[in-house]
């Protein structure tokens, strides 16, 4: 009998130190999370630099893919903010690509027998990562909002056409909703990645358990196996969709900073 071992569904989220580093009292060790960020960014950089190297008027297949992604994000920014929002285009594009690469690469199966630190890892399945990205977006919104509109940016909390007696309540609601933006951004992405990977792991765990239970039950493992395939396909969609949602919400929030007065 082969020695089959099914790890717990939380094992895949563990942070493993690969190279211990520290900055003052801060522990900034190079971990498996950092490794997969580096892999994602390297793959994206290599792909885009290679695809854009020719600047061909009639693009090859790689350049076409790169151009489609460019136009996709450019249309998103232009549609949500307008042409004056194009100064945020590099940021939104980098954000979209970073999240997409992180989500997608995490779906690759781990090479069997790889040490724990080299298991496939999804950096965006950690809330601190998604929260940092969300805070980055909100910081840009606040800083640019005040830079562009001065105190007029505060009109964001005062919708026009509201009766005066209702205003305090509305302002309170608007303020709370503004504060909840980074949280909802961060938790949406993190929770989607977490749940997807747990479900994948649980289904894959069924296969191992059934195979381990003996030949008589081994054939039943085809059902969780098919389930795993189906969920993997679903997760591919979710990986793209969540990157898109994060990017489009970033655009919508940036639009508030660019057009604070137009409510």
């Amino acid at each position: 009998m082969i020695d089959l071992y099914a790890a717990g569904p939380m094992e895949q989220f563990e942070i493993v130190k690969l190279i211990p580093l520290s900055l003052g009292s801060l522990d900034i060790s190079f971990t498996n999370s950092a490794l997969w960020m580096v892999i994602g960014v390297s793959v994206a950089t290599a792909f885009f630099v290679f695809a854009a190297r020719g600047r061909a008027l009639i693009p090859g297949p790689l350049q076409s893919v790169a151009e489609i992604m460019y136009e996709f994000v450019a249309d998103m920014v232009r549609g949500a903010i307008g042409s004056e929002g194009m100064k945020f285009f590099p940021y939104v594009f980098s954000l979209f690509i970073f999240i997409l690469m992180s989500n997608l690469l995490g779906l690759f199966p781990t090479i069997p027998g790889a040490p724990h630190g080299l298991h496939t890892f999804t950096p965006t399945s950690h809330i601190i990562v998604t929260f940092t990205l969300a805070m980055l977006t909100i910081s840009i919104v606040i800083v640019y909002g005040f830079y562009k509109n001065g105190l007029g940016f505060l009109k964001l909390f005062v919708p026009s056409g509201v009766p005066l007696w209702l205003l305090p309540l509305i302002v309170l609601i608007e303020f709370v909703s503004f504060l909840s933006r980074p949280l909802s951004l961060a938790i949406r992405l993190f929770a989607n990645m977490l749940a997807g990977h747990i479900i994948l792991k649980v289904f894959a765990g069924f296969i191992i358990s059934l195979l381990g239970a003996g030949v008589a039950f081994g054939w039943i493992s085809i059902f969780p196996f098919l389930g795993t395939i189906a969920i993997t396909l679903l997760e591919l969609l979710v990986a793209f969709l969540q990157a898109y949602v994060f990017a489009i919400l970033t655009c919508i929030y940036l639009n508030d900073a660019v057009h604070a007065g137009h409510h």
């Binding site: 717990g8 939380m10 190079f30 999370s33 994206a44 950089t45 350049q63 601190i128 765990g205 059934l210």
Partner: protein
């Protein structure tokens, strides 16, 4: 029965592992704050690198290529419109040349016809003139012959009359007397 139990245990196993981890104090790895500084640090480093590469190399190149292509396509469309205009002009001038040539040909044809008609009329007139002349000569000849013949008939009548008178009265009248006695009508 044992199959159901097995399924249940298979389902329970991952859950048991979670429970085990929770019990050993590990909890969600996401909630372990000691890993936060490292994750934030490497996120900023890698995302910053990606942003720099994208904003300084990749996006300007892709954007430049797209713009260049858009310009090129617009140029090509303009050029195509030019060529179309030229073709239309050429067609127009061709049609004009064709119309001119047709008009010229028609003029030449009309001219030639006129010239031929004139020539024909001239020839006809000459022929008429000639035939009229010969007709007149013929008529003249006929008239002189007629006159000649009636003169000879009169002379013969006078001679006959003289011979008849001589036989009757044995006196021969002069031709003048006979001629005077004859009705002038016979002269006609």
């Amino acid at each position: 029965m044992s199959f159901l139990m097995l399924l249940a245990s298979a389902a329970a196993e991952p859950a048991a592992a979670v429970a085990h981890e929770a019990a050993s104090g590990a909890g969600l790895p996401q909630m372990d704050a000691s890993t936060f500084p490292s994750q934030i640090f490497w996120l900023i480093v890698t995302f910053g690198f990606l942003y720099l590469v994208m904003s300084s190399i990749v996006l300007p190149r892709l954007g430049g290529t797209l713009e260049e292509r858009r310009d090129r396509i617009a140029d090509d469309l303009d050029q195509a419109a030019d060529f179309k205009q030229q073709a239309e002009d050429a067609e127009k001038s061709y049609n004009q040349a064709l119309a001119e040539a047709t008009a010229k040909a028609r003029a030449i044809a009309a001219d030639t016809r006129e010239k031929l008609n004139a020539e024909i009329a001239e020839i006809a007139a000459e022929a008429e003139h000639k035939s009229a002349a010969s007709l007149a000569a013929a008529e003249e000849r006929i008239a002189s012959m007629k006159a000649d013949a009636s003169k000879k008939v009169r002379e013969a009548a006078i001679e006959t009359t003289r011979a008849v008178v001589a036989a009757l009265i044995d006196e021969t009248p002069t031709p003048e007397a006979v001629s005077a006695a004859m009705p002038a009508r016979a002269n006609a």
